[in-house]
């Protein structure tokens, strides 16, 4: 009995999440080819909804996201490939619409910036660890002092 009583709230919590995850973006788009459907599903996860803060168009119910899903669907069912759809969107909405921005002059810093920072950090770290003249020589007086302290402890 205690098991059942324990499971009920857990199940309720799980159900709560299930009902939420299936809520966004229900369009009844029919594809004649499962490959096209897979491409569509991939692309709506890779295109940013420009009016929402950090949501892909597959995840948003904004009017613009619906329109962009429709456009994506139209292009894919016409037989266009991934590059074509991404180009189409980037030409109109800029690199911002792509969740994985392409490498070009505008996005160069975005791609190589983290590596530059990493190199600087490693360089500074090495310098910091190996700072010369950091070691203080352990003299005879220090030794005597240490021994004296240890004796006092005893």
């Amino acid at each position: 009995m205690w098991i059942r009583r324990g499971l009920l709230p857990v199940t309720l919590v799980l159900l709560f999440f299930v009902s939420f995850s299936s809520q966004a973006a229900i369009d009844a788009y029919q594809f004649d080819d499962p490959e096209k459907e897979a491409l569509y599903k991939k692309l709506i996860k890779e295109l940013r909804c420009t009016v929402c803060q950090n949501q892909d168009i597959g995840d948003s119910n904004a009017e613009l996201a619906k329109d962009l899903r429709r456009k994506t669907y139209e292009m894919i069912s016409r037989g266009e490939d991934e590059e074509f759809v991404l180009d189409y969107m980037a030409q109109r909405y800029g690199d911002f619409v792509l969740y994985r921005p392409r490498l070009n002059t505008n996005t160069l810093m975005l791609w190589i910036g983290p590596f530059i920072i990493l190199i600087i950090a490693v360089f500074l770290l090495i310098r910091f660890i190996r700072r010369p003249g950091d070691e203080v020589p352990f003299t005879e007086t220090d030794k005597a002092q240490a021994e004296q302290l240890l004796e006092r402890e005893e």
Partner: protein, 177 residues
């Protein structure tokens, strides 16, 4: 002293970057169209659907495209600014009636006044996508060669018109067509 100065310098640089970041509007996306030919359209006119206007028809003059809709709340406030701008007689303004029912659009213009040379019907929003419209109202300035020179996302205000649009138009009107 030096060991305190370096972290302080790093901290100041960080603060400057974060301060710039705070000032940026995440909703503002630079338009990829600036300096590029305006996207083509061929659309029926709202008040006379038999007539169609294309981008090619508008070449040779400087013109504005103002994207509006009757369901767009901030367009209402912007409309007064557009009317004032058109009254100055600088440049023709064409409206793009974006994702609107024609009768709603016509009613809206009848109630608030119609400053547009013509409004074009983009009922399903396809032309809006071609122009990269993501937040109505939006306004584009197109030069004599048909190149997009300026884009305003969100409502025009009197200060934007006076400080940005008018000086730009003065400049564009002196350019050869």
């Amino acid at each position: 002293m030096k060991r305190y100065l370096i972290p302080l310098a790093v901290f100041i640089v960080l603060v400057v970057f974060l301060a710039i970041g705070l000032k940026l509007d995440p909703k503002h996306i630079p338009s990829p169209f600036i300096g590029k030919p305006a996207p083509q359209f061929d659309l029926p006119v709202l008040h006379n659907p038999q007539q169609r206007i294309t981008t090619a028809d508008l070449k040779g003059q400087v013109w504005l495209l103002n994207v509006w809709a009757s369901w767009c709340v901030s367009c209402r406030a912007e409309h007064e600014v557009v009317k004032r701008f058109v009254a100055m007689g600088e440049t023709p303004v064409y409206g793009l009636n974006y994702k609107d029912k024609p009768e709603d659009g016509k009613g809206w213009l009848a109630a608030l006044g119609n400053p547009y040379k013509a409004s074009l019907m983009d009922i399903n929003g396809d032309v809006g996508i071609d122009w990269g419209v993501y937040g109505v109202p939006e306004t584009f300035v197109i030069d004599k060669k048909g190149i997009v020179r300026y884009k305003q996302v969100g409502p025009l205000t009197d200060s934007i018109v006076d400080e940005k649009i008018i000086p730009l138009l003065r400049e564009l009107n002196t350019e050869a067509g």
